[in-house]
Symmetry: C2
Subunit: 532 residues, 2 copies
């Protein structure tokens, strides 16, 4: 589409010195209210101009009757008036030299031929005037460098390195919010809307060069220029991983996509071949999309597909190994020297193979030593640590329930035995505290020789605060520069999870999701290493 | 294995009048401490006997030197002493007429030939003495009817109708905890351990007849008697759905399973054929396992595979339709009468097809009317409602952030405009409250005609408390007796989610997971309807 091929001013789109809101309103819930409030709330510090001919002020700012009345230069306009008036606004924008417009207004090509004609007219004029239109029918945008949050939903992304372009607004902002909860930071967000004269590939090209963007995330339904997308993506994906969620895959999905964005979703096989060629990582679901974005955002590049897995129970090891089969990962063969080293750290009957089953061992210091032995091993490209790295907070949080419930029920059903119960509990805790930190399972503490049953060591447990755990993990990432993935199925399980994301460790919610992400990290690593 | 075929006393296993702990201990963290504490904490009201020759009391209870010294009848013994002593304990158990033993002790067949020999000896004796052994190497059990929690982890399941048998202890108790967080109630839990003389099929048979159990969940690695499992499962699954997570699927997974439970995992194809024949629903991951258990626990049986989807944004509709393609579901054709009815409820440019795109409509009353129209439609077997049923709490929880942040930034960057800002905000809110509840998108409220942009109606929003929302949903389930699935991606999004589970509505965490569960519900419904 050569007609869209004008010189764009994306720098001013993502870093505008001033913004004008056409259709600004004081009525809560209206787009003309939501957008300026979002910008003010996000902490944007540039100039704001409110355009509304029927109000004297909007949100405390005096209004202008029209764009033409604004005397300072306007870099970006945000349009929320009805469709029929948008072309006129573009004429005014051209007259005052504004080069970028976020057009939130809907009722264009998404609602039928009449709207489509209007949209074509709009695009033609904007191309002529060299105006980049984001939309129409967009949910807005975000740009970290200007603290610019112009979003149709109450989301304020955390600044970071992920650039996200979405061909669906509602899905896009929901994934933004979800990503924020997972600890993902964003550099830019773009809701393409109907993409009147600015395609997903235009934004992709910009993000490829954008120094603030290190990982690119795309929700993609259809492409107008497949070849250009392929070439652009291939040029970028070696250095900046591109993660894509493809909507409109099957027959029913394509039909839904057609009625949604008006775009033909195209042949799935064609897309998959293109992603493969371009080194684009495809997610199979919205959940995997967020997982992969978090993973690529956090971890260093994988050198290969050999994986080591630490597990607290055989069943999880089995399930994780199954996932390795599915994802094309190889369980690393641990060299004899590594097995020997682990013999010194783990209970007598540990699995002596990979997955490394810790047999319920609860000595955190040894768990960390085990993790380090595996991370240091040259045969291991990726390390997955399952449910082993519980911090002090986990124990403290579960303590009241484990202690109070028995106490309460002793009162209810065995009140006569309560005094002796309290005495023995007190003495038992004392004994536990007297133990010197050391190997678990050494059998030195009592009658039972069951593996991992020699009791917990409270002193050892209390040593591992969230901060200690995070700094130790972060040091491992720095030293070995390999993907390290932890698994926390319960939020209580790792209170520092969101912080680990910042420190280069990906926290997955289930073992299978950890392995799934590992598989994609490996494939991208192999692609990128081959290409460079 | 005919030798295991003695008359069992499962009723006393799950409802023991008394329990003896062999190896009871006062040292925190030891199995001999954890198990009686778990039982006391769970609120079990039967008699407890502590066996420990070296302590005078454990947890306030006077100890016995041996089982032989206990004078009252013992229905269940819990054994935590080292492996070498367990056979002797069984002899004592036989002598006093105890018929059930939970053997937590490890170092049996899972650690090599020596342990395996010991385990065979144990099994032979137990068979002779008609003692059911759960274990050895088990993490314990749970039974709702006796408030009996004998688990090696601080989990107290909520009573309910799900019977869960696991061939992995650690995985089992973690899934129990996860299930509890999702609002799933359990009738029984069994950690099989090494299954010396009691197989997963024995428990399955019992749960099939158990009046407290309505849904059966299995984590399965291997089977000793495939044919018996198949026939038992087929006899049950019509009336009680059986959900299975199969560990040891691929080459690496099978190898891990072998070193874990010692059992050969067997051919995957064989298992899949068996599940298919028996109407057993297979989950592809631990996450889907919990989803499916929650779904079958909550919703009525599906009549077929025709699905209707309500969505707040086109993108989510596309993604959901894609999932329908994958899961073999058909998007129901909505009859003209239904389309007409919806025309009266939804904004002008709604999709007029399935998925039903609500185009950002925020009028909750109309959303409920839309859901009811779809649930009432004979062409619809399953209804999925995505991100539309937000209660008052959602708005109240996001309010402070949406209000305080702009206020804070007005002070920082536009303090001069603050008074007027406050005045216009106040006036705007007043206007919003004056609106009469009605159709959204009618264009009566201002300049912008963008769909869904006519502002929210606070009065309408505040009407929908969690309680109102739940009672309305529950009424729909009662009236139409169809699976209704809602999607809540954010915990904030549906504060009443765990309660919805109790009221017969399955709450999924993503659209894809909702559709995946719907696919399995449809397949089981079709199987069960054909078989009866």
């Amino acid at each position: 589409m050569d007609k869209n091929d004008f010189q764009r001013d994306f720098d001013r789109l993502f870093d505008p010195r001033s913004i004008a809101f056409v259709g600004a309103s004081n009525l809560p819930g209206k787009w003309g209210y939501v957008m300026p409030l979002s910008v003010i709330g996000g902490g944007y510090t540039g100039k704001l101009a409110m355009i509304n001919p029927r109000e004297s002020s909007v949100m405390g700012f005096p209004t202008y009757r029209s764009l033409l009345d604004v005397k300072h230069p306007v870099d970006l306009i945000v349009v929320t008036i009805p469709a029929s008036g948008v072309l006129g606004v573009m004429r005014d924008a051209a007259a005052i030299g504004a080069r970028n417009a976020v057009v939130v207004s809907s009722d264009f090509s998404e609602v039928g031929e009449e709207g489509a004609a209007l949209e074509r007219e709009l695009a033609a004029f904007a191309n002529e005037a060299s105006i980049t239109i984001m939309g129409p029918n967009t949910m807005g945008m975000y740009s970290s460098s200007s603290s610019l949050t112009a979003l149709g939903a109450p989301v304020t992304p955390t600044p970071g390195q992920v650039g996200f372009v979405s061909q669906s607004g509602n899905l896009g902002v929901q994934l933004l919010a979800w990503g924020k909860r997972r600890g993902i930071g964003f550099s830019r967000f773009v809701g393409c809307g109907n993409a009147a004269n600015t395609d997903i590939t235009d934004y992709l090209e910009y993000l490829g060069k954008d120094p603030l963007t290190g990982v690119i995330a795309l929700y993609l339904e259809g492409l107008k220029e497949g070849r250009r997308f392929l070439e652009t993506a291939r040029g970028i994906s070696r250095n900046k991983p591109i993660v894509v969620l493809k909507g409109g895959r099957g027959a029913q999905g394509s039909k839904a996509a057609q009625s949604h964005s008006g775009a033909m979703a195209g042949e799935l096989k064609l897309f998959e071949g293109m992603f493969e060629q371009a080194g684009v990582v495809e997610a199979e679901s919205s959940e995997e999309f967020i997982d992969l974005v978090a993973a690529f955002d956090a971890v260093p590049r994988a050198r290969g597909k050999r994986i080591a897995i630490m597990t607290m129970g055989g069943g999880w090891g089995v399930v994780a190994a199954d996932s390795c089969d599915r994802e094309g990962l190889e369980l690393a063969e641990l060299p004899a020297t590594v097995i020997e080293e682990l013999d010194g750290l783990l209970p007598r009957f540990w699995s002596r193979g990979n997955p490394v089953d810790l047999v319920g061992n609860l000595n955190r210091s040894n768990l960390f030593r085990t993790a380090e032995v595996l991370a240091a091993c040259d045969e291991v490209d990726i390390l997955v640590v399952m449910g082993a790295l519980l911090s002090r907070q986990f124990f403290l949080k579960s303590l009241p329930l484990s202690v109070l419930r028995p106490f309460y029920n002793m009162i209810r059903y065995n009140i006569g035995k309560l005094p002796m119960y309290l005495i023995t509990q007190y003495k038992g805790l004392g004994k536990a505290f007297m133990k010197t930190p050391g190997r678990s399972g050494s059998g030195s503490t009592g009658a039972s020789g069951s593996s991992g049953s020699s009791g917990i060591n409270p002193r050892e447990v209390l040593k591992w605060t969230d901060a200690a755990l995070i700094s130790r993990m972060a040091a491992m990432v720095r030293e070995y520069s390999k993907p390290i993935i932890t698994v926390a199925m319960d939020q209580k399980e790792m209170s520092g999870a969101a912080k680990l994301q910042e420190h280069g460790i990906f926290v997955a919610h289930t073992p299978e999701r950890a392995i799934k992400a590992a598989g994609k990290l490996a494939r991208h690593g192999i692609f990128a290493n081959r290409s460079t």
